[in-house]
């Protein structure tokens, strides 16, 4: 619909929109995160919810303690190999549509602790990530920026057609296999269906 016509109609109190816009508007302004702080980035996440950098004004009004009631998992902090199966289990328990923000260098790729024997080199080895925030730790403003980027991503989603998101496609899985504790590390070390090692891709 023509934008000028829309503005003209709204001046008379008539609001014209598409079903898709309305649906996405409702979803993006009420994303409720899961209380899931792992390490130092969790403190910056808590600071973002406090009075100075209020995250509640963007719709993240309550942080739900139960994954069954949450839309968003902010993986804030280093994911260790001992913790990784619990992270994947929590992700599986969240109902669709669900999103993941990898906050901080440790959640993206292992961060400064990458050489550790107990450190998982990035949570995107096991679950799909929507937004990555670099930083160690990222400032609260960076987390707000990531939240707004997630809102833009949600509002750009189409409900029909080939480019519709994962939760509207019946054939794509919404639960991912949980890794087991092996004798020397996790088994499997990564989920090859969702993790595309960038170095291997470059190698050909």
């Amino acid at each position: 619909m023509d934008q000028d016509l829309k503005t003209e109609l709204s001046k008379h109190g008539i609001f014209a929109t598409s079903f898709e816009e309305l649906y996405n508007w409702g979803r993006k302004n009420s994303v409720w995160p899961l209380t899931f702080g792992l390490a130092c980035c969790a403190i910056e996440m808590i600071a973002t919810t406090m009075a100075r950098y209020d995250l509640a004004r963007f719709g993240a009004e309550v942080f739900r303690p139960s994954p069954r009631q949450a839309d968003l998992m902010i993986v804030s902090g280093t994911v260790t190999k001992k913790m990784a199966p619990q992270v994947v289990r929590l992700y599986n328990q969240m109902p669709e549509p669900k999103y993941v923000i990898a906050m901080g260098a440790c959640a993206i790729s292992g961060g400064p602790f990458r050489d550790g024997y107990n450190v998982l080199k990035g949570i995107d080895r096991f679950i799909p990530v929507d937004v990555h925030i670099p930083g160690c730790p990222p400032r609260p403003e960076a987390l707000i920026h990531a939240f707004m980027a997630l809102q833009d991503k949600i509002s750009a989603q189409h409900l029909t057609g080939e480019s519709r998101p994962r939760h509207l496609k019946q054939e794509l899985p919404s639960e991912f296999p949980v890794p087991e504790f092996g004798e020397h590390g996790l088994e499997p070390a990564q989920n090859d269906e969702i993790f595309h090692n960038p170095l291997k891709v470059l190698q050909g």
């Binding site: 209380t35 899931f36 702080g37 792992l38 390490a39 130092c40 969790a42 403190i43 910056e44 808590i46 600071a47 406090m50 009075a51 100075r52 303690p65 902090g77 280093t78 260790t80 001992k82 913790m83 619990q86 929590l90 400064p112 602790f113 050489d115 550790g116 024997y117 107990n118 450190v119 160690c136 730790p137 400032r139």
Partner: protein, 376 residues
């Protein structure tokens, strides 16, 4: 060790639950396997390791200087005191001396760290009791002011990476000192407001008095240090015992508790905040001009002589110690962190036996742990 054992017939009726690692009140990724008889705790075993980030192994593969940013991430709320503990251990190992102005700056930032840590601890304790975040908001409001000071001094809010072997990294300006003086002047009225809302509050008193008692002898034998030890009546504060830095020049008292319950541990934090303000006033008044680094210190290529050293400081959580063994090479041969939070947790089971499951959350909050330090 007190054990409350139910009669044999009831052993099978115990409910075993696992609190954590994802739980709103476990202060990070911490898990407790609790066995309950109804609501009373019969057995509690903590499970660690969910944040084991191999700090010691990484530090043994890196040089002495590059381990400093990793010490920031140990107790991630108090990065300045972590840096100081490590710098003290290396200074003992190498024999470097710190100039006076740097010592005063170290005391100022350490006491500021103690202020924001204790305020945060009280806020988190009240949130665990169900106060839904309001005291935490007040505490974080003051914490943000302290973090602004840290950011203007060292460049980062939380991971300051500020101390160096033989001094500090950058000097503070007169403007920074006057801003700190303004914060210290206003902090007393914040504490008065905080105490008026909290200390006489009947819900706080009913939930914390008589809960989680820690007897004196057990506290000493189990190696509990910090405010938890002093709440049980033991006068052992490393600032007075070891007199590291220039702490012997300041007049301050060491508050002691009587019973060692959660209320005493809460009051310890409040009283210690007031004593920290006294130290800050004196340090800001007396700080001399001068250099901030030992002229003999070489930052890069530090190769201490073969030997070992153990350096410890009074961090807001307890005694933070660093044990270093050097074999003459640029990397430490053995690098060990003595984590106060892990050792304070030795007595968690003893304090929780016989109490309700809701009290376990409050007792854990009163010990004040940070998982980055427990698991390293």
């Amino acid at each position: 060790m007190t054990q409350v054992a139910p009669p044999e017939a009831q052993q099978d009726n115990l409910l075993e639950i696992s609190m954590g690692p994802q739980h709103p009140s476990t202060h990070g990724v911490f898990r407790m396997d609790v066995r309950l008889d109804g609501e009373r705790v019969m057995r509690l075993k903590p499970v660690f390791g969910y944040l084991h980030r191999n700090h010691e192994k990484i530090a043994e593969a890196a040089s002495y200087l590059s381990a400093i940013p990793y010490t920031d991430r140990l107790d991630y709320l108090c990065s300045m005191t972590n840096n100081w503990g490590y710098a003290l251990a290396v200074e003992k190992l190498t024999g470097l001396t710190v100039p006076e102005r740097a010592e005063y700056i170290r005391v100022i930032v350490a006491e500021l760290t103690r202020l924001q840590n204790h305020a945060g601890m009280v806020g988190f304790l009240l949130q665990d009791m169900g106060a839904s975040g309001t005291p935490l908001m007040y505490a974080f409001r003051e914490r943000e002011r302290v973090l602004d000071l840290f950011e203007s001094l060292s460049g980062a809010r939380m991971m300051c990476n500020y101390m160096r072997f033989g001094g500090v990294r950058v000097d503070c300006s007169a403007e920074w000192l006057s801003q700190t003086a303004k914060l210290v002047a206003g902090f007393n009225s914040f504490l008065d407001e905080f105490e008026q809302l909290l200390t006489g509050n009947e819900i706080l008193m009913a939930r914390t008095q008589g809960v989680g008692l820690l007897p004196r002898e057990l506290a000493i034998n189990a190696g509990v240090t910090g405010p938890g030890l002093r709440a049980s009546g033991v006068n052992y504060d490393l600032r007075k015992v070891d007199r590291y830095g220039v702490y012997d020049r300041f007049q301050f008292r060491v508050p002691l508790g009587e019973q060692g319950d959660v209320f005493d541990r809460y009051m310890m934090r409040v009283l210690e905040m007031r004593e920290s303000l006294k130290i800050l006033e004196q340090a800001l008044r007396d700080i001399p001009p001068g250099p901030i680094m030992d002229p003999k210190a070489r930052l890069r290529g530090l190769r201490p002589k073969a030997g070992e050293a153990y350096g410890r400081i009074e961090s807001p959580k307890g005694e933070l110690g660093f044990y270093l063994i050097s074999d003459g090479s640029p990397n430490p041969y053995r690098y060990r962190v003595r984590p106060p939070s892990l050792i304070n947790l030795t007595v968690l089971e003893d304090m929780c036996l016989g109490h309700n499951i809701a009290d376990v959350v409050v007792i854990l909050g009163s010990i004040d742990i940070v998982m980055g330090e427990v698991d390293r």
